[in-house]
Symmetry: C2
Subunit: 418 residues, 2 copies
């Protein structure tokens, strides 16, 4: 007989370690005798009453979840609005919780999810329904306030730094007769955290990456091209890391510059790296290559940061403990107590202080010329990519990733479509 039911849901873009958080949540809850339900495809599954009962998933599979990227129970992009505007949906959530005797709700995501968890907790109070809501941090974008970093970011940051270093060695070897300029496009629509992480790949002006383009600074094409030319002439090649979110001084996204329609009326998909590469080719005549790692950068569990993995599991465990202690409307956050050596602890923070805020890079993390990171940025970033935590591999040469399965519990309410 379960001591109660906890509901866990994943939200927004998944990461290399969000399942590690899920794994820690389920293990900790089981230790306390709780039954854990998981929303299929996040909050949408809750609204649709598609709840996965994790009880029958073997402990070995729950453990293996911690080394599996993606979102084991499915996630979604679905933002609930204000309590007034979306009241029917919030009430539906409370109805679902009541129908399945859910007393603890853990919502694993970014700003929006913190906001949703906060509103659900408020409505539960209004309705007199006994519910403890806990947000659990996650995002490769590293844009949550209060917390030192967000689980998922450190692994994507490590992927970025390692990939840029590897590609740079390739370009360096070939530059004499082949590619002279290489452009790497990093995720980050509003903040340049992942682009900044690429800066860890090298030291000094001659080591790659030679130029980093941040969304925090307006993109100046002439200045950029001048620096590329100067770097190629000095070093022999130039490695550029560009955040997908860079914008011109007038605010337009550079990524949109390359898109549009071709002469057949077909869509041309843009992108920052391909656009910059084309400009370098046209204006400077260098042979150029570019990469768009896209989802590879946030799902590269094979290259996870051990620090990130530990933090992802720590917030999962803490979230359950907070929930059981009735700490309502909080989120376990990472508090940095020391830089070198890196020390951190988990503490609860109010969801109200986190919801709907966005952390951008501190100005002193970006070099004065705008094209690189500072020592302060290195001090912050380096510990986050430290340590390796590879998955185990099968005899077929592939990581042993699992899909947990689990059966849907029987619906108790009228079906509603969302």
């Amino acid at each position: 007989m379960a001591a109660g039911t906890l509901l866990y849901a994943q939200s927004g873009g998944v990461t290399a370690v969000i399942n590690a958080t899920a794994s820690a949540v389920i293990e900790t809850a089981r230790r306390h005798g709780l039954r854990v339900l998981a929303g299929r495809n996040g909050i949408l599954g809750v609204l649709r009453e598609e709840l996965i009962d994790t009880s029958d998933i073997p402990a070995s599979v729950i453990r293996a979840l911690a080394q599996t990227p993606g979102g084991a129970f499915g996630s979604c992009r679905y933002k609930l609005g204000s309590l007034q505007g979306d009241r029917a949906k919030y009430e539906r959530l409370i109805d679902i919780f009541r129908a399945h005797d859910v007393r603890w709700f853990l919502y694993n995501g970014g700003n929006d999810s913190a906001d949703t968890a906060l509103k659900v907790s408020q409505l539960a109070v209004e309705f007199g329904y006994p519910l403890t809501c806990v947000g659990v941090p996650k995002t490769v974008d590293n844009d949550l306030v209060v917390t030192d970093t967000c689980p998922g970011f450190g692994s994507a940051a490590k992927y970025t730094a390692v990939s840029v270093r590897e590609a740079a060695l390739d370009v360096a070897a070939m530059a004499d007769t082949s590619t002279k300029v290489f452009v790497y496009e990093a995720m980050g629509r509003h903040a340049g955290w992942l682009a900044a992480a690429a800066g860890l790949a090298g030291h000094g002006a001659d080591e790659a990456p030679h130029l980093i383009l941040f969304p925090e600074r307006p993109f100046d094409e002439a200045g950029f091209l001048g620096h590329v030319r100067e770097t190629v002439e000095r070093v022999g090649y130039c490695v550029v890391v560009a955040s997908e979110g860079i914008r011109a001084a007038d605010g337009t996204f550079i990524a949109d510059a390359g898109g549009g329609k071709d002469s057949f009326g077909h869509t041309q998909l843009g992108g920052v790296a391909s656009h910059l590469a084309a400009r370098v080719k046209d204006a400077l005549g260098y042979k150029v290559h570019w990469t768009l790692p896209d989802y590879l950068q946030r799902s590269a569990r094979h290259l996870a940061s051990a620090t990130d993995l530990k933090q992802a599991m720590a917030v999962g465990r803490a979230a359950v403990e907070y929930a059981l202690k009735g700490r309502n409307a909080v989120m376990p956050v990472i508090v940095r107590t020391k830089d070198r050596p890196y020390r951190w602890k988990i503490e609860p923070a109010e969801l109200a202080d986190i919801a709907n805020h966005e952390k951008t890079m501190p100005p002193d993390f970006i070099r004065d010329d705008g094209y690189g990171i500072t020592e302060a940025a290195r001090r912050y970033l380096e510990p986050l990519i430290r340590g390796e935590a590879p998955p185990s591999y099968g005899r077929n040469g592939l990581p042993r990733y699992v899909r947990p399965g689990g059966v849907l519990v029987e619906a108790r309410l009228p079906r509603m479509d969302f």
Copy 2:
């Protein structure tokens, strides 16, 4: 006092493990008391008399080379022509060898390098200069004949299979409300070996990758779009792996379809994945993402295949042994003696049988419908990605990659520009 001088040069696109071959060449040569010179930027460095003396590079650095991607001494794209047409260059090579008392020449590359090594050996015979030329195989394209596989391919294949599996887990988690179609662009202009390796990421019709597009089969847009739609309707999402070299029935490269000039007269860089993604978006209306890993796939030493690494070192060792035994105009190749368990050995093959040939995928490796791999392909490919051989990492969270340095030997001939 060195027992003689061996010259080693890297050629063409570098790989995750070509430096492992270099490491094995140098270690083996040192054990035999030889001095090893390396061409700076490959054969061009030889023509320019830019020869790196590796004698003073510490043994620890030579060992660390085996875990460093890229081309440690530089490589180049530079094809020598016929003995008649490029006779002056071939003669220059013999002059350089004579000036530095080079008795063994090891040329590490693909088809073209095998051809060059063969011609150099012929000219040496004609001139009565005592030289043993040995080709050493390398290419991510896996397109050398005779050998079972090419060092460099297995690691790129492992990167491809792992990355596709990881990204597929990401897409699966989000497909309900976000991206439904994901396109991965694999290297392979003429042969679909790397695209085929992606097939190892899943089994059966419902597991990713759902569609693989090979350059060996003409691209049929309507058929492709129909399969994408059918897959999304059945599975909920669709992961496509496309070889960069796919072509329409009339022979035109699909990659070129997306390029051209925009309305400002600026270059638009094409690409297969972005083109296919745009067509899916236009024709089917699905949200789509795509990735172009580009150099990341051939420099991902962090995800090397242990099998590939062993083979890369084995051909390096064997090349030195063959050279010292006077086995002229041969290449150490990998001979598969058994599939399961995979067994292989190194044997010498005639350069004349390898030069200028190209191995494409056997027709029975591609499924009848043209969109996937067969069991025969799996049997061939799977052993090549087996085993992990991660580099060691520093306390900063990055692999300990080295740049070997080494000093140029003094030039003895009049300078010539190439």
